[in-house]
Each structure stands twice: as C-alpha cells, then as structure tokens.
Symmetry: C2
Subunit: 267 residues, 2 copies
C-alpha cells in the first residue's frame, strides 16, 4: 500500500485507528475453544466487527509463535483474511545482517502479504535496508518506545542528543517518507511534539493508546501532520473489551468510540 | 542446559563449535527437493554428520519463516531432532515490551525446546528480562556485531564509551553469567580482547568464522576464558561445503577441520 492509498483510506473512514491483534489463546472467550482454529475464529470476528472503523491491523507475531506451527498458520490465515483495503502490519521487531533480513522480508512481504514490518535498528543499515527494497512495502523502525526500558538506551545521550534522535536521523537517510515509518510512543521524558519537529514528514506508528495508557487527544494534537501522519494502535482495550460471547460487539463499541474521537482531530 | 553442562560438553568433545543451520531451500542439493520436508531432510543429514564435532546448533529463524507454515514446521522438527546433548540456539533477534517478550520466551523455551535465544537490546530491561526467567535457559544479547552496520549505532559514543559497551555493562546487571551471554563479533575497530577485558566471565557467541571471514585463531586467543567462554559459529562454510549428494560428508570434513584446530586453542 502506498502512502497516497493509506491517506485516502484515512480520509474515507475518518479514522487512523490500527487494531492490534495480540491474540492470546488463554484470553479469548471460552466458547471459541471448540473451533478448529480458535485464534483465527477470534480474529475473524474482530475483523468483521471493526473493519469499517480502522485503517490498519497489527499482528503481534509473538502471540502466534507461542502456539508453534498452529500459531503461524493462524497468522497466515488472519493476514490473508484482512484483505487489501487495510494496512497490514507485522509487529515482529526483526533485524539481522543483510543476508538474514532479506529472508525476513521474504517471509513477511512475499510468503505473507503484509504491507509493513516493525524493525529493530541496533545492527545498523544492512539490517534495515533489505526491508526497504520491496515496492509498496514499509519498514517501521523503532524510534522512541513508551515502555519503561526506553530509559535504558533510547534516552542515553550521544553527540549532544538522545540516542533515539540519532537513530531516527540516521535511519531517515536510508529510506523515504514513502517506505519508512517510525514507532514513536508518548513518554514522560520526551514530548511527542519534539519528535514531530525533528521528523516532520514520516508517518508514526503510535502504540499504547488504551491498555498501555496513552491519551489519544494528546497524541493527535502533538504528532498529527496535514495528511494525518499517524497510525494509532490499540490492542487489548479493543480485542478484550469483553470475555464473553458478545466480545466482537463490545470490540466494535470500543473501536467506534475511538474512531468517533478521531474524527474530531483529523485535519 | 546449565553453564556447567555446557562446559562439560566442550571438554568432552574438545570443541566449542556451533553449526549454524541457516538452511535456505534454494541452496540445498536438488536431490532433496523430492523429500516431504526437504529442509528437515537436509538438517537431519547435517546433524547426523556433525553431532560428535560440535556442542551447539544455531537455527536462524529467518530462513524458516521465509517458507511460512511449512518452514516453522521444519524448525520445530529440527530442534526436537537435535536432542538434549547439544546447546540449541534460536537465532531470532527478538525483543519487545515485557508482555510480548514473555510470549517469545514461551515460543522458544516452552513450545519449542531451545536452550537459548538471541535478543536485541534496543527497548531496554523489560524487553530482555522475560528471557532470563526460565531455569536452564539463556538470553544471548547483541553486544558488538561484526556486520558493516555495527558502525551506525553500536560504535557511537555515549558517556565516554562505545554504545555497545554501555549496552553490555547495563545488560550484565539484569542477569548472571549462568543465564546471559553476548553476541560478540570480531570487527576492524574494536579488538576482541578489549571486549573480553570488559566482560571477563560471560560466554560470547561469536558469529562469522568461515563465510563471514573471521579468524578462528584470533578469536580464540583474544576471547577465550579458563572455562572456554566462547561458542564459535560457522554456518555457510559448513552446511554448503558441497551442493551435491556428498553435502553431509563434506560438511563433516569442514566441521572436523574446525574442531581439530579448536583442540589446539582449548585450555
């Protein structure tokens, strides 16, 4: 999916919501456990209930890998079920030497039809650039994350700036605003408007609105650009809105409430 | 596998060789493509031919993920086939917020019987510590890698030292020498003896002897400790020693030649 297509979806749906499918088989409603593939059955119901309200789905690979081969099959079925009208993110945090990153790019962009993959930048350019060689596909590189551990390395200083700033500056040189985004979370230490100032044109994937506690209003006011420029993810607060048979309906209500709020912030 | 058990295997086999199973279906001998699971058939033959010469196998997850569900099945079969006398490393470079890293730990330590997983440190303590909570299991955290991209971030300066040094110091505080190792490669900029001086007791996983061009003698002289303290990996130079029907025999010759050299360097 190109940036233009993504922005058109955002305008059409008046939404920049990404629903995070962090589907944990121990947390889904019990009545689904009789299904042949309970995780896929859950995801299918969530997708059917939310697809007109969100522009992206984010599959957190860890939750699928925890179920082994069956989990990987659930992931493949899910990404194919989503179809081509949503931006499909593999939240996989991959990154290795070029030869290996090439194989990850093949896994997520060719074997599976994801539009984007999250990438960890530690190993530098040859670990990131293989993800930038696929037409219409995106690398979403870790910039500033909102977890406690962000203090350990991302917020160290190097050459008079934060380490994450150096990372975002350097990585920006490897791609364009048409194939590269950043994961940027709201933290106590750094205001999102500072990150936006430094990186005015890249899309940001903003995690953690909802269960992780971020404020949608604050994120939107501080990081939105004139073509939106943000994809805001919510996982647990939507998909686990109810643990009963009404889980899909409750997920829709939660997604609808976020989308209604988003309408107010869009340019 | 505990450190004591690992060191006993090293002494018994007079080897600290890890065979890297970066098995690429496009590179294995053509006669195997008629097998139901060609990748597993290849790995099985390599394991049978090398198991008395090496103390570890390293499965590079990217090469399996590139084949989708079938690839994940090949990986599971391979790690189970290796058995309990070798140290089984998932070279997966994972790392995410705690909730997610927990799921990765489940995938590689519970659903599959790996002994260790490679971990990317960018997101800090809560992204690494879930891998340190499993008895007898190990996190092998990226320290200094030997790829070109190491210059981009690992060799930046922070607080008067290299960034990778800060990472290794900080991460050392999260685990012990019984559950934490580091990936340390030989580079042009930093001599391995300096890394060893800074981190005298941790095991290092040293990639890149062989096809990536490192010298076994130099690595061994500079990084070995009194209980060995290094696991040296070779992937392509062993597993692709021949592209014909004699591939397993040629892999054995290559592994034997490395193991014979290793005998001379062991304490």
């Amino acid at each position: 999916m190109t940036r233009h297509q993504l922005v058109e979806e955002i305008k059409k749906k008046k939404s920049y919501l990404c629903v995070g499918l962090d589907t944990d088989i121990t947390k889904i409603p019990k009545h689904l456990l009789v299904e042949e593939d309970p995780v896929f059955a859950f995801n299918k119901a969530i997708i059917d209930a939310t697809k007109d309200l969100c522009i992206a789905y984010k599959i957190n690979t860890a939750f699928y890998e925890a179920n082994g081969v069956k989990g990987w099959a659930s992931m493949e079925k899910t990404v194919r079920y989503i179809g081509n009208e949503h931006f499909k993110i593999a939240d996989a945090k991959r990154g290795d030497i070029g030869n290996t990153s090439n194989q990850y790019a093949k896994a997520f962009f060719e074997t599976m039809p994801f539009d984007a993959i999250t990438v960890a930048p530690y190993m530098g350019e040859d670990s990131v650039s293989p993800f930038l060689q696929h037409k219409g596909k995106w690398a979403i590189v870790l910039g500033l994350t909102s977890n406690k551990g962000a203090d350990d390395f991302e917020l160290l200083h190097t050459d008079g700036e934060y380490f994450y700033e150096k990372v975002m500056e350097t990585v920006s040189g490897w791609g364009t605003t048409e194939n590269l985004m950043f994961v940027v979370g709201a933290t106590q230490t750094v205001s999102l408007d500072n990150v936006r100032k430094q990186s005015p044109d890249h899309f940001f994937l903003v995690p953690g609105v909802g269960a992780q506690g971020g404020s949608l209003e604050e994120v939107s006011k501080k990081a939105m650009t004139k073509d939106c420029g943000i994809i805001v993810n919510s996982s647990r607060s939507i998909i686990y809105a109810s643990a009963d048979e009404d889980f899909a309906e409750k997920a829709r209500q939660e997604a609808l409430s976020i989308q209604c709020e988003m309408k107010n912030y869009l340019p």
